[in-house]
């Protein structure tokens, strides 16, 4: 690479953590004892299915920025009737919404990040809010140098401000930052601003074989895991 990369920015949902089986597990743990029986993976998919549309409200300027916890809660309220889940207490709804703070990392992530930390500044550049990122980091031992992303930018990826605010926070030009994600659209948006890009294959993000196995557009590095990325970056 012509310019040395100094910082790695990570997408989190799907790239570092397996949101789908984690949300299914958390929903089942809370709702099954209350007598609800449903397909928990379908429930996870339905909740996540509201994700982009809710952020579009902010990206378009139709509503002011609010953190992802707030959007997740609105999305939850929208899908609960669809699964005939009623009479859930406010405390249970709040707890269920915090399922997004209790997601587990893909197996390669802790070791991969530990290796990458030796050579690079590391930060999540996620649409998740700071407290959500902090809870995921504590749970999974993510060794962040700082929590960057949507909340410090006041907008949601793939809006340019989110990537640029992250580079500015580290006082680095975009060319010295690399976006790492399992989603081509995230990388395309970053590359357009001058960041380097690394794609991580997550073939099972949306169920077996239903995630991106390879980037759909050219990227600087295509890796099969964070450990593979560390190999390819010499870390």
């Amino acid at each position: 690479m012509a310019v040395a990369v100094k910082a790695l920015f990570f997408d989190v949902f799907g790239t570092l953590v397996d949101w789908r089986t984690s949300i299914a597990r958390e929903a089942e743990a809370l709702l099954e004892p209350q007598g609800f029986a449903l397909d928990w993976l379908t429930f996870a998919d339905a909740w996540r299915g509201q994700y982009q549309g809710a952020m579009d409200e902010v990206r378009s300027g139709r509503i002011p920025f609010c953190r992802l916890d707030v959007l997740h809660r609105r999305n939850l309220e929208r899908i609960l009737p669809r699964f005939h889940i009623e009479n859930l207490s406010e405390a249970d709804r709040r707890n269920l919404n915090l399922a997004w703070h209790r997601l587990d990392a893909w197996p390669d992530v802790p070791r991969g990040l530990a290796r990458l930390k030796r050579r690079y500044l590391l930060a999540p550049v996620s649409n998740g809010n700071i407290s959500l990122m902090v809870d995921l980091a504590r749970r999974n031992a993510f060794p962040w140098d700082a929590i960057l992303g949507a909340e410090i930018a006041g907008d949601y990826k793939p809006k340019p401000r989110v990537y640029l605010a992250a580079a500015e926070a580290f006082d680095l030009p975009p060319a010295e930052c690399m976006m790492v994600a399992a989603h081509t659209n995230d990388l395309v948006a970053a590359a357009r601003l001058g960041l380097r890009t690394a794609h991580i294959a997550r073939p099972n993000e949306h169920g077996s074989g239903k995630g991106e196995t390879a980037p759909k557009e050219p990227v600087d590095i295509a890796a099969g895991s964070l450990e593979d990325l560390a190999d390819k970056l010499g870390a």
Copy 2:
């Protein structure tokens, strides 16, 4: 304490790091080989002496928010003539300004923070910018959960927004956050907003015996070091 504290917010300059002898050392290392001979501690004091006035420009709204690195650079340009330092290259000025990224922690800090991390969320709530905090954390192994403070708030302590933005980032009410500082005015401002307060004695911050040895106003905890604070918090 009636309400359990969940997060500790740390002042950094003076409370966690010994800026005075570190700046003197860094200035000497850069300038002495170029033939400059001066009292390096006096130089450090003069540079720091411009600190509050520069931030007052932002606090009062006379100039828009800019990060502390920018203010440090303006302050440096103001004091260089006073020490008859001329013909310094732009690269040297930039490097000298980054001396604030190379400050060393007081000896009790790494062990104290490691103990406190087991029980509390930890974040700097400093007037220093994110990249400065990141560099100090890497140098001194500060185990932050997130980098909060002036840059995410867009204003400088003791303006209320800085403390409130930090509590909001962790999604905590102020009463569940404790500000930790060696400066009474920082703690008074935090307490006024409902945060808990801990004072750390740093008797040598401004030279031997010239720092605050005790809080000048009531605080929740007065400690002699971070290890003492960990003892008093049962961490």
